[in-house]
Symmetry: C2
Subunit: 545 residues, 2 copies
């Protein structure tokens, strides 16, 4: 039996485009005498559809597309992820299902048993878990069909009381097929491969695994669909961060020698490719072409500009230098050098006059109070007003350039530098920003070396440096990582060797700035714990704050 | 047996304050020879604790507070909601539990079975469902103790496959006790009372029900704790929107005549009281006293100002009039009249000069392009910069004044009038804004009648009216209500009699403006479906858009 793995970049709710891609893949597979073609989880509507699932109209559209696609299933079977209705009068209204279609009709519907509901996942919000287990017989093969998380209750990660493959194994399957929507983070590929291999080894049968690829706002899917033999060795691995398609022969799968897995990706390379895909898909799927951003001469906006130019083409990125009286000359030169290096268009709009204009009308109210945060924020907000005006006038999307370290401690101005349609670096710590910048520069100096080596500064008052009010970034980032990604509490952090006053201050900053992060753009997610939909905290909470 | 119902306004994560309130209530009950005092769901840490639950340090603090409180339980028992640890090696790490404490020790821990995971609820994110059912025997009474949602799988709302009281009823309980965190919306009180009464009638035993009161950012808890006899008649009902405490005698509960339920509240009165509580608690729990807002002369900012003055005191609310060249004279006069009517301080800061300053520096870029959205937004954003500067300088929190109709269709400027720490009216449709304003004015004209009767306008260009680009609000709001609250699709709306082009246009506006709502302040939730944590939609989704 020949099975095709169709790793496609779907668009949530875009039925027309999704069905067209599915049908094209089916037609292509038919010309290759493929017996069965497999598409990812919820392929019909894209993943995650979120509350669109609560509209009957949306579910009806999933079904009408399935029937349309079924008409193309002649001489070939297809497995397609789609929501389905729970016809029982108890439990939630929907299942997260895999439709097995052959001879132009639906032969079997398998439901997902384990519904992830942690971090960015909300599946228990919509779906009833499966309680019945049946294998599918097709062309002499007994297929154990499961959906994503169904294979993850293995090893030491017993998050669920049921293990679907334990049930299916009783029916002597020949092969596992798993359709997935497993989002990227820089750790996920290795964990995923290990989890899938453990299943092959435990159940002693091979596996075909088909994952999503592409970005859905903040969620980035890296693809990496694969086939494994019953030893858990990879015999076929599809691309990362792009659509791909491959055909495997089931009968020889256990005779195949393990393929060389994709080892070329370091953590930083993965983050780089994920961010470029994230920017590109965000613009493509919204139907926008051009980005604008404020270029300060600092490293964050420099890196954002380079990534955007890679995603959209340098000709589609417009950089605006917005110097104030506190901007250093070298900052302006660094920004200009970068724009020239990557050949994108840029302009300079000094903000002194608008800031003075604000200060004039506020003077009767501020009276003789000293220069402070209010005046600093005026500069950041004046810049945002200018960038948004250009965005509104010419149809640019503004790129946010804040990094994760800043977002964590609230080192940024709400409605100022925290503006934008999408945050490119909001899940990238400052220390990782440096690593990414050095990676960009590995062959030649694209980001001016001066932007990399100078002390970070917001340049909102004379001679300001980030280190005036924050610990050095290597210490700050390690505390933030342990608190945010690893969820260590204050005592644990002190026991790890960090100074208590520093720990207390940082944790308080993180927790009291939740209100700022609530109002920021969606953040491209590259870590196991990003700010946004996967991290949900009270705003008026009073804990470590 | 005497049971005390302790309806308390807790603060998420504020263990010191929460424990103090719990201990004070226990000590008070002890002086009254109360046998058992009942606190709401997750009383120990406040509800909803959200991802704080993922920190071991947070869970440890819950336990240490429980042990501290237990020392006060001499001669009295207490039921206190708290997370507890799942000691099994399968399933999620925590339960949502009720601790039964007597003689200074924990006698019994009951776990929640039905974990709501819809709308604003995320309980399956954190908790493993209960699978064991035991009643509690205390002073000769057999108590069926459940937690909130456990009583809601009744009638036609069979969202779950298990019904906890069906299991507990087999052990012949004498009374039900339910501890709850049931958030307010203007429909909830009646649904809640009906649900509770159905339980009394089905199981033929009385009920003691203790709910939270107070606001946790956007979630408003209305209290209304109660006791019901086995016919489902209310024999005791606690206050709404404020802390309360009451003692009932179990042995005579079925002899008690049904109390007159609180019938004084209309929908609009409920929304009014909820919003006032929501503003007050937001400021109190964040430790802020003073609010600022932009007062336009229109009805939305007028209503927001009156509600804020009721919540915080007129002396703590500062109104800023920010007229532009497009502001009408009557708008300025209406705003001034209102500020005088409620006796709050106000000032006027014309924005012409800062707008001109922006237009000057943008002129070389805008060239001769006609006046448009960019210029309109410049005005709204200049106002926001001024309000935020005053906020930063003097420690005000900026109140957002956008209503739900505007938020729905994106009729507002991101980083302009969509700014603020909390949105007061973001869950109140424009038609309800009028009803609330008339309610405010029921005894005398507080909101100038002119603000109520004049055609709504953003006043961002000459002679602009909302109805230039939107349907009349009575039609708009009905379509929005059917789409957002009732989740009707386009075909259903057309079948209800709305014109298809209008329906298509409105739904498209709602869906394409998800990106704006993603960056707005938390919204005080008063309806069954508010924008924010209870409504989760893709930003790059392509559905009805």
């Amino acid at each position: 039996m020949q099975i095709a793995l169709a790793q496609i970049n779907f668009h949530v709710g875009n039925f027309e485009s999704n069905s067209e891609k599915i049908i094209n893949s089916i037609e292509k597979a038919k010309t290759q005498q493929v017996d069965l073609i497999v598409f990812p989880e919820l392929a019909i509507c894209g993943y995650p559809p979120r509350d669109f699932l609560e509209f009957n109209d949306f579910i009806d559209k999933c079904f009408s597309e399935l029937y349309k696609i079924a008409q193309h299933c002649t001489g070939i079977a297809a497995i397609i992820g789609s929501p389905s209705k729970n016809t029982d009068n108890k439990g939630k209204e929907l299942f997260n299902s895999a439709f097995f279609i052959a001879d132009q009709s639906i032969k079997k519907v398998v439901h997902k048993t384990l519904l992830p509901n942690y971090d960015i996942f909300d599946e228990y919000r919509y779906f009833e878990p499966n309680r019945n287990f049946d294998i599918i017989e097709y062309k002499g093969k007994r297929i154990a069909l499961t959906i994503c998380e169904d294979l993850w209750n293995i090893d030491n990660n017993m998050l669920y009381v049921t293990t679907p493959m334990d049930e299916l194994k009783k029916q002597n399957p020949d092969i596992m097929i798993n359709i997935a929507a497993s989002p990227f983070n820089y750790e996920q590929e290795l964990i995923r491969k290990r989890t899938l291999a453990l299943n092959c080894q435990k159940y002693q049968i091979p596996l075909v695994y088909v994952n999503h690829v592409g970005a859905q706002t903040e969620l980035l899917f890296d693809g990496g669909s694969l086939a494994m033999n019953s030893k858990g060795e990879i015999i076929n691995e599809l691309s990362y961060f792009e659509e791909d398609y491959s055909v495997i022969t089931v009968d020889s799968i256990n005779q195949s020698i393990g393929a060389t897995p994709f080892e070329k990706f370091t953590k930083i390379e993965k983050i780089h490719d994920a961010l470029v895909m994230g920017i590109k898909n965000y613009f493509d799927k919204l139907g926008f072409k051009k980005a604008i951003l404020g270029l300060s001469g600092g490293i964050d906006s420099a890196l954002t500009l380079v990534l955007a130019a890679k995603a959209l083409g340098a000709e589609n990125v417009f950089a605006v230098l917005l110097p104030s009286e506190y901007s250093s000359n070298h900052s302006i030169k660094d920004a200009e050098d970068l724009a020239k290096n990557i050949d994108c268009s840029y302009t300079t709009i000094p903000i002194n006059k608008v800031c003075e204009s604000f200060e004039d009308i506020l003077k009767p109210h501020f009276k003789d109070l000293p220069f402070g945060i209010a005046e600093e924020n005026l500069q950041a907000r004046s810049r945002a007003v200018i960038l948004m005006a250009l965005s509104n006038k010419f149809g640019y999307i503004l790129l946010n350039t804040s990094n994760k370290s800043e977002a964590a401690v609230g080192y940024g101005t709400l409605y100022g530098d925290m503006c934008g349609g999408i945050s490119v670096l909001g899940d990238v710590y400052k220390t990782e920003v440096y690593e990414l910048s050095n990676f960009i520069n590995k062959d030649k100096e694209i980001i001016p070396i001066n932007s990399i080596i100078k002390p970070p500064s917001a340049e909102l008052r004379p001679n300001q440096k980030d280190s005036d009010s924050l610990p050095e970034y290597d210490i700050l980032d390690e505390i933030l990582y342990q608190y945010i990604e690893k969820r260590k509490g204050p005592e644990e952090l002190v026991n790890m060797g960090f100074e208590r006053p520093t720990v207390d201050r940082i944790l308080k900053l993180v927790n009291t700035n939740e209100y700022k992060r609530h109002q920021t753009p969606p953040i491209l997610r590259v870590s196991p714990k990003a700010f946004g939909m996967g991290r949900r905290l009270p705003i008026v909470g009073k804990y470590l704050s």
